[in-house]
Structure formats: C-alpha cells, structure tokens
Symmetry: C2
C-alpha cells in the first residue's frame, strides 16, 4: 500500500462523494479549481452552491516537499521530507433545520518511512435533535466497531475535546469522531488502519443523507434562519481561532481559498446573545457539552 | 502620574468618546455592561447600535493580578504581578461608504515598576478614497509630530506590518499608526509618553467625524453592501487569526463578549471572489498594500 495508492483512493473518494452530493442536492453542480503547490504537489478544490447545500467544499490534495522546521518541531520529528494527502469536506446547508457536516481523512508520511492516518467526522446541527444525534453517533460507532472496539469510545472523546470552542465554553456541535497519528502502534498494520479510514470515508454520504432526509422538509422561520447565522459565527470562531488544520494551512502558506472554504456564506454576530429558557435555541446550547453519551 | 491616574483618564476618555459618538450617530445610545475579572479588576463594555453605526463597541478595562507564566514568557519579563488598563474601540458603520475604524490606547505596569504604553488608530474603508486616506494620515502625522518627529514614520510602518492579513497578502485597510512598549527609552518620561497617548485618544473623534462627514451622504447599492460584507469577512479573519490582542484575550480567559465586540454584525464569504479590472472594488484591493505614503 504505497502512498500513491492511498492518494489515488482519496482522489476517487472525492469523485464519488461529489457525484453523490450532486444527486442529493438535485440542482447544484461542483465547480473545480486545480491548483499546484509551489513546494511540490497540489490539489483539486471543488465547490457546490445548490438548492440543499448553500455552500459546500470538497477538497482533495496530495502535497510533498521539505518539511518546514516549525512543523517538524510541532510534530516532534526530525525528518526532512514529507508527503501528505487527504480529503476535506464542509457542507453548509440553506436550511437551519439541516446540520452542517465536516469530514476529513488524511495520510502523512516522511522520508524515513514514518507514517500515520488521521481524520474524523463531526456534525454541527443548528438545532440539536437527540434522536438525530443518536442515529449519527450510532452509525459512527458501527463503522468504528467493525475495526476495533476501542475506536469509537476513544475517538468520540477525542472529538469532544478537539471540537471545543474554548472561549465560548461550548462544543462546536454534537461531536462525532476525531483521530490522529494512527500508525503501527498496538499491532495495527498500514492495511488495517487504511481499511478503517476507507470505511469512514465511505460512510460519510450515507450518514449525511440520513440527516438530510430527516430534516430537509421541515419548515423554518426568519428567526430560525437568524439563529443559523449566529451559530455559523461560532463555526467561524472555532475554525479561525482553534482549528489546528486551518492554522497549519494558513501558517504554511497553503491555498487560502481552499482552506477557508469551510467559512459559511453568511455569518452574524449579536452582542451577548442569550436565548430564553424553554426555547429550542436554549435547549440546543444545553446540548453543546462534552461527554454526552448519545449511543 | 500613578497607574490609577492613567486608568482614570482612560475612563474619562471612554465617557467623552461615547458622548460624542452618540451625538454623531444622532439616534443610537450606548448600553453598558460592567464586568469583573475573577483574578482582579474589571471593566465597562459599551455597545451602540444606531443609525450611522450599525454596531460599535467602546471598552474600558483596568485589570490586575498574577501575571500568567506564558504571558510573562511572551513579554520576556519575570515579574509576578501586573496592572493593565486601556480603551479599545471598533465601529462598524451601516454604510459601505463609511470606513470601519479601530482605536486602542493602553498602559501596562508590573510589580517591579516596569511600564509601557501602547495603542494605535487604523482605518478600514470598504472603498479606499485616496483623498480621505491622505486626510486621515495627515491628522495622525500632525498628532505624532507634536510629540516627536520620529513617531509618525515609525508607527505608520509598524501599523502596516501589524494590520496585515498574511494569508490574503493584503493589509486590513489603509493602516494608520501602531505602537507598543513605549517606555523610558531614549530620554522619554512617563509624562511625555502619556501626553502622546492622550493626544491619540483625543484625536479619535475628530478624525472619525471628518471621515463620516465626507462619506455618510453618499448613496450606495446592494452590490456595494455585498462588498462591505465580504470586506467584513476579511476583518473577521484578521481579528481571529492574526490580532495579538484578541488572541491574548481569548487565551487568558478574558470576557469573550467584550473581546469579540470587534466582530461585525454580518459578514460574508464568497469563494475566490475576484473583482473585475477597472471596478472600485479592484481599485480598493490595489490600495491594500504596505508602504503606501499617503501624506
């Protein structure tokens, strides 16, 4: 399983997901920008602006070259050359009743043969519905359990910790799974890790389809749309202040338009917004906590 | 000139500026939130949402207590106790023809008697008008020149470097002045530094009044409003990714609602937005560069 094979599989994953999302949306078509990285490699950035999805980005990249010193230090490795490939997705739907979803799968390898996989899927409903949340987490758990019983509990907790908007003391959404540096520890092989990552990549569309099917026909009000814009503001705050992937990209002169495709089309900030007790907005805030066992 | 005197002067500055901004706006009134910092001190956060100013924040704070280790390390000092006071302002006008303005004046002192002033004023027009830019910089230069001939050239360059959106390769606006760690170097006294900082504080309202008077009656289109929202998105990017004050505040568990008062009410992101040649938007982008000598 060479790094080229892995990159090829990710590229096909991007193709498949884009195809299925176009079908799901019904109207939007992806537009593609191919780009090259001055230091080596490049990617395919794809954007959809449709009926269901107000703005969605599905990015593939495979880059290589000299490992910047600060990155090597942050990763605590001394290798000089790296290769990194992955698929990254954020979908912002029109309807505040349909959740924002994010997925990332990635592979990293250095010149000395050190390698690992990383990634995850997390869901950010504008309105948290416990039954939807349970279905989402159950599907992630099923995918994880097929590979190792420790995966779901470990990666679920990791997501709670990672997708945390510290300055707001709230989680970005209802979490999901997050994992990084999955290598040869504990008897795993490259093939077994890759099988797991493939499963996560393949489960993205069915998971989102279910969430969409359960919510897309719900009517919504102007006030609910306004609430969506405020929640999108929090999404912006997480991505620009805390997300390591975004920070890594901007710090290393990555392609800004591809990195910031995760930004929503419109976001609002309201000073000291406090939803009243008993409202659906307040209930949602109460669910934005670490450690909720949805399954 | 004790730290208490300085804090008192900043507090009065907040009062005066709020009073004058209410007059300028004509309709909006400031609402105030007083807050206390668990570790010591507190502040008065004031918000205006009026006819001219869609959202404006004028914050005063005076805080003290144990200096966190990471802050001491960043500042390269070994003191254990600190005192910090300042006034911080960001105004987002309704009209895209009227610029966003930011001002900050601050004073910092440690238990061993180390002290310095910092601050600045910078302007972010949605549409850059060279004559307005020259007037803005000329007024800043006049204020600086009254105190030291080196101030304006040094602090103008500092602002160009500080208010730089690195991942966009553009400045936040047309710059202004930025200064930090103005202490007893080069024969300056605490009194002479404070006199300068007072002048900057006092020049804020006349400077903004002039910019408003020259632009507030201009009509604008939906497309120009849309452009304003995109520029506000860049303002968000600068503040959340690069601004050290925001980062410092969020990292040290400052009052989030006061820190993020600089966020605009509404911001937009458009994938790969490229204004056409010959448009006012393209001309504006061409002015968002370091090193333009406006005076």
């Amino acid at each position: 399983m060479t790094k080229e094979n892995i990159a090829l599989w990710f590229q096909e994953l991007q193709d498949n997901i884009c195809h299925e999302l176009e079908t799901l949306d019904g109207k939007g078509k992806f537009q593609e920008d191919k780009w090259e990285r001055p230091g080596g490699g490049g990617g395919r950035t794809r954007l959809i602006q449709g009926d269901l999805i107000e703005r969605g980005g599905v990015n593939f990249s495979a880059v290589h070259g000299d490992l910047p010193d600060n990155i090597a230090a942050a990763l605590k490795i001394s290798d000089k050359q790296f290769f990194a490939t992955g698929v990254s997705i954020v979908l912002h739907p029109h309807s505040p009743m349909v959740p924002i979803i994010h997925m990332n799968v990635r592979f990293f390898e250095t010149s000395s043969g050190l390698w690992w996989f990383g990634g995850g899927i997390d869901l950010t409903p504008h309105y948290v519905n416990p039954e939807d949340a349970t279905r989402f987490h159950q599907k992630l758990k099923d995918s994880c359990d097929a590979h190792h019983v420790d995966y779901y509990p470990k990666f679920k907790t990791w997501a709670d910790d990672y997708f945390y908007v510290r300055h707001r003391k709230e989680t970005r959404g209802i979490g999901g799974i997050f994992f990084d540096r999955l290598g040869e520890q504990d008897g795993f092989t490259r093939a077994s890790r890759f099988d797991f990552v493939k499963e996560i990549g393949n489960t993205f569309v069915p998971i989102y389809k279910e969430q969409v099917a359960r919510n897309t026909d719900k009517p919504f009000t102007e006030a609910e749309k306004k609430w969506q814009y405020i929640r999108r503001g929090r999404y912006v705050e997480f991505n620009l202040v805390w997300d390591r992937g975004t920070k890594f990209g901007l710090d290393t002169d990555g392609r800004t338009e591809s990195i910031l495709m995760s930004m929503p089309p419109t976001a609002n900030w309201v000073y000291n917004h406090q939803p009243e007790e008993g409202t659906a907005e307040r209930t949602t805030l109460d669910y934005l906590k670490k450690g909720i066992d949805w399954v």
